[in-house]
């Protein structure tokens, strides 16, 4: 460190997001005050985003092991065994704060980042899903911030995924007041790789070379991890000033980077690989060194820059997108650079693996930063949460949009029209769902997306299309992403269990069993007692549900401080992504009724109540304090029953009951299949409206032959409630009846079209 440099002060440290105590600890680790480069690097690696300092202790309680797990938390992505020597890598990540500031680029680079995590472990990305939350858009004609954010985020996801040739096969979106100031943009990606060829990120081999490849390094995204990801959002004007910290994505660069990375791995030219995400080179290099228990010398003068006059600290913390860092044996460096040349990707040897255990940053000959790797990566203090259940409700009741005395028919149409339930077609039509030729079930065809696994039509080996080959099973993957934040807000423990059960139910409807789970914990400021309580309870629920379902957590992400100053905290939103396998994609379930005359049954331990339901929301009801008891074993048993029947080809359709209760589920089955139904729904719950619209876990609507439906009774409660047919949905109730034509249902269900003229 040059003596002439002016050392930053404790005030500078505070401005970068460190606390006074953390700054003092940094000084202790460094044996004196850190210089500018060192302070910048500590402030990022010790940020919530990188160090998980408020969540790490909780995350350690989650189940992470199971018979299918190949790679668990801690690597770029988790991976599960899917048979035939193949693994499915998957992970969900958030890009909430960047998207709140600049939705198009925020969402686009969110997709770019999660894709890099997948190919960083040597798996080819095969699918993207997204999970979005915005404020209310109920008056859909009026321009609003939520509409602007929705439009930008959807276009950004499409822009990146479509351009890179990875299908966006599913997702979910909710509109609720508490997300008004702080939208959520979570993206999940899946990849396929060979088990024997997966690569880890630990740097290894003293004297090996570090090669940085991909886009040039610029000033974009500087300080993103600490400024954006680890602090509450301020007012809109101040947030506009944060725009330079949002990165700009270039999917074409990433497409080349992806092909180049996969070919480098295929040829066995690299020892370790890591993408550059939050905190850029700082985080990537330090984490590779930490995992490998080695040191690293870097020379920033060798890094290809977009702007010539960047300060050393800027180079180290830049979040320029589409970059990867790899470790290469010296004799392979030229071959690596040649392959990068083939893909027209920049590359530069920028450093060396050392045995010092220190991260040394040089600018040419000059040493500009020198830190112990362990202090940087592992010594950030971890904080205990101080959970405190709030004595009074945190969230104001929603604005009523439906009269309390609305009749059943009016309520059904209002629910189908409501933004949380209406058809997502105007959104998912903006995504390529079919590139790579694996997509067996597209959005709105089934509860979960289904991909053909192997033999892969996109992988070179053609599927056998001969008459003899037609009957041969084609194994498939199924994936679902879900979380109803309002129910988690009502009861963080049980609401989170419900989210996990919902994902597993979606998999059951296509005939898939869970292999593993990923999660993105989106919460408010954990330093506040009530948020700490939400987080603690939610993680407890997540662990309990995943243990019971044998669907271990293989990776995930935490996004805290999701509150706007005016709007208060978001609903606690632990987004769950679950991946499952089905033995034969030919038999993958569908959600729509398809055969007139089929019987319809309600399956499972479904005990619906109106509290915390979508109907209660439309009617302006406050959240209840707690949800009903859940018998996870009974729910699981009904899922096993449905899964088995789908796999055996015994059901024409299967759909799980979620928002809007049984009546909405029935309407969705009618709409997806273009067929009406006549059913009787009485005596399931207390009162007519609860029978129709009450919500709770564990229920399915299935159709098929009446014998096949009754056979489900061996494992789960079954009630045959009616017949498929006609051009209307007619529901007889104890006290009355409800009827709506398919045309009326369609008209209500397509309300989101107005948002995308």
């Amino acid at each position: 460190m040059p003596d002439s440099a002016v050392l930053p002060t404790v005030e500078d440290a505070l401005a970068l997001g460190l606390t006074r105590e953390e700054y003092e600890l940094v000084c202790e680790k460094q044996g004196g005050p850190p210089n500018q480069v060192e302070l910048a690097m500590y402030s990022l690696l010790w940020s919530e985003h990188c160090a998980y300092k408020h969540s790490k202790k909780l995350l350690r309680t989650l189940p992470t092991e199971g018979s299918h797990v190949v790679m668990g938390p801690g690597e770029n992505a988790g991976a599960v065994d899917v048979g035939n020597g193949q693994v499915c890598a998957f992970k969900v990540e958030s890009h909430n704060h960047p998207s709140a500031v600049e939705p198009f680029q925020g969402a686009a680079t969110g997709v770019g980042g999660i894709l890099r995590d997948i190919f960083a472990i040597g798996a080819r990305p095969i699918a993207v899903l997204d999970s979005l939350r915005f404020g209310e858009i109920s008056d859909s004609r009026a321009p609003s911030r939520s509409r602007f954010l929705l439009d930008g985020a959807v276009q950004g996801i499409g822009h990146y995924g479509n351009s890179i040739g990875v299908p966006t096969i599913g997702g979910e979106v909710y509109f609720e007041g508490p997300y008004e100031q702080n939208c959520l943009v979570n993206a999940m990606a899946l990849g396929l790789g060979e088990r024997e060829k997966l690569v880890r990120s630990a740097a290894a081999g003293l004297g090996n070379t570090l090669v940085l490849f991909g886009a040039r390094t610029g000033r974009d995204g500087i300080g993103g991890a600490s400024v954006l990801a680890s602090a509450e959002l301020g007012d809109a004007e101040a947030d506009a000033d944060k725009r330079p910290t949002v990165q700009v994505g270039d999917p074409f660069e990433e497409k080349k980077l992806m092909e180049c990375s996969l070919e480098l791995l295929e040829q066995g030219l690299i020892v370790a690989l890591q993408d550059l995400g939050a905190a850029g080179l700082t985080s990537s290099a330090a984490e590779m060194a930490s995992k490998g228990e080695v040191g690293i010398d870097l020379d920033i003068a060798k890094i290809p820059l977009r702007e010539p006059d960047m300060e050393p600290f800027e180079v180290m913390v830049s979040e320029s997108q589409e970059r990867m860092l790899c470790v290469v044996a010296p004799q392979n460096v030229e071959a690596v650079k040649a392959l990068c040349g083939k893909w027209e990707v920049n590359s530069a040897a920028i450093g060396t693996v050392t045995g010092t255990g220190r991260m040394k940053v040089f600018d040419g000959e000059e040493l500009v930063g020198d830190m112990p790797v362990r202090a940087l990566v592992d010594d950030c203090p971890l904080y205990d949460l101080r959970p405190e259940k709030p004595a009074t409700p945190i969230y104001a009741p929603p604005k009523a949009t439906l009269a309390k005395d609305a009749g059943p028919r009016e309520a059904l149409l209002a629910l189908l029209r409501s933004p949380n339930i209406a058809s997502r077609r105007p959104l998912f039509e903006q995504y390529d769902a079919i590139v790579q030729s694996r997509t067996v079930r597209r959005p709105e065809q089934a509860d979960a997306a289904v991909l053909a696994l192997d033999p892969s039509p996109a992988g070179g080996e053609d599927r056998d299309t001969s008459a003899a080959g037609q009957g041969r099973p084609v194994p498939g993957l199924a994936v679902s992403i879900d979380c109803n934040g309002r129910r988690v807000a009502a009861d963080p423990y049980k609401g989170t269990i419900e989210a996990v059960l919902e994902c597993a139910a979606n998999l059951a409807c296509v005939g898939a069993e869970p292999l593993g789970t990923t999660n993105n914990l989106n919460f408010g400021n954990p330093e506040k007692g009530h948020i700490a309580w939400q987080l603690t309870e939610s993680v407890r629920g997540l662990g309990d549900a995943c243990r019971k379902l044998e669907a271990p957590i293989v990776g995930g992400n935490v996004s805290l401080y999701n509150e706007g100053q005016a709007g208060g905290p978001i609903y606690p939103t632990p987004v769950i992504g679950m991946v499952g396998r089905l033995p034969d994609a030919h038999k993958a379930g569908r959600l729509g009724f398809a055969r007139a005359g089929d019987a319809i049954a309600l399956v499972g331990p479904f005990a619906p109540v109106l509290a915390a339901s979508e109907l209660a929301k439309l009617q302006g009801e406050a959240l209840p304090d707690g949800l009903h008891e859940i018998d996870i074993d009974a729910v699981r048993s009904s899922q096993i029953a449905v899964r088995g029947a789908v796999r055996a080809g015994n059901l024409t359709s299967a759909h799980d009951i979620a928002e809007g209760g049984a009546a909405v589920a029935l309407a969705e089955c009618c709409l997806a299949g273009g067929l009406g139904a006549s059913v009787e729904l009485a005596g399931i719950a207390a009162g007519m409206m609860a029978n129709l619209f009450g919500e709770g876990p564990g229920g399915f609507v299935v159709s098929g032959g009446v014998q096949e439906l009754r056979a489900l009774g061996e494992l789960a409660p079954v009630r045959v409630i009616g017949t498929v047919g006609g051009a209307a949905l007619s529901i007889a109730l104890g006290e009355g009846s409800l009827s709506a034509t398919l045309e009326e249902l369609t008209d209500a269900h397509t309300s989101l079209r107005e948002l995308f003229p």
Binding site: Q155, E259, E429, I434, G460
Partner: protein
């Protein structure tokens, strides 16, 4: 019968096209920077975003070394099929008349569509019946076909308007609902929808797109429907 499928940096659907072609014959990828067609009897210019398509869709790809060979190949009567971005490239290369503009709804849009065969005598559709409907998906932002009135009239007379969107299916606003056109000679076809994504009932519920590849095979092998 051997297909060659060009691979540009930024191509997305080249493996899909490769595998679709392999259902009716041999097929091999051709790298954009090379010039050798490796003995291919027919060329597929696939979908995607060649070179990122940041300037104008297909505007840079048309200058690729491999495209120079393909232009000569087409001039000699060789079969060239351009799908989506490939259609854009062929228009930029002047192998096909007209141009593709931004969709009327100004958004990337993915839909399974019904197409109608307007010319079943051609080398790409001889396996189809006149007026036959094909279920094939489309997915693009720049798919609004445009040509001036005189050109359109001449194309119509020459049977160059090979495929049209069925009524109500033309989401991109193409003139005369045009979905696919050929050159005057009939040996080059471009279309925005993706026949390579409709070759397997399991994946998408339709195998109608196979008829395009099958027709090409019949033409090359001298078989006639």
């Amino acid at each position: 019968m051997k297909f060659g499928v060009i691979q540009f940096p930024g191509s997305c659907d080249e493996l899909d096209a490769l595998n679709a072609a392999r259902r009716v014959g041999d097929a091999e990828l051709l790298w954009h920077g090379e010039r050798d067609l490796k003995g291919a009897d027919a060329i597929v210019v696939p979908g995607g975003f060649s070179y990122g398509d940041y300037l104008r869709a297909g505007a840079i790809a048309r200058f690729a070394p491999m495209m120079e060979t393909v232009i000569d190949f087409a001039g000699d009567g060789g079969l060239v099929l351009g799908i989506c971005n490939g259609f854009q490239v062929l228009c930029e290369a002047r192998l096909l008349p007209g141009a593709l503009l931004v969709n009327a709804n100004r958004r990337f849009t993915f839909r399974q569509l019904e197409l109608e065969v307007l010319n079943s005598g051609g080398v790409f559709t001889q396996g189809c019946a006149l007026g036959e409907r094909l279920s094939i998906p489309a997915k693009h932002s720049w798919g609004r076909y445009h040509a001036d009135g005189e050109t359109l009239a001449a194309m119509d007379r020459a049977g160059q308007i090979v495929l049209r969107y069925a009524d109500g299916e033309n989401f991109n606003g193409s003139v005369h609902d045009i979905a696919g056109v050929s050159n005057e000679r009939g040996n080059v076809l471009g279309l925005m929808p993706h026949p390579e994504h409709a070759v397997d009932e399991l994946i998408g519920g339709s195998s109608d797109g196979l008829k395009i590849f099958e027709s090409m095979r019949m033409t090359v092998e001298g078989v006639h429907a």
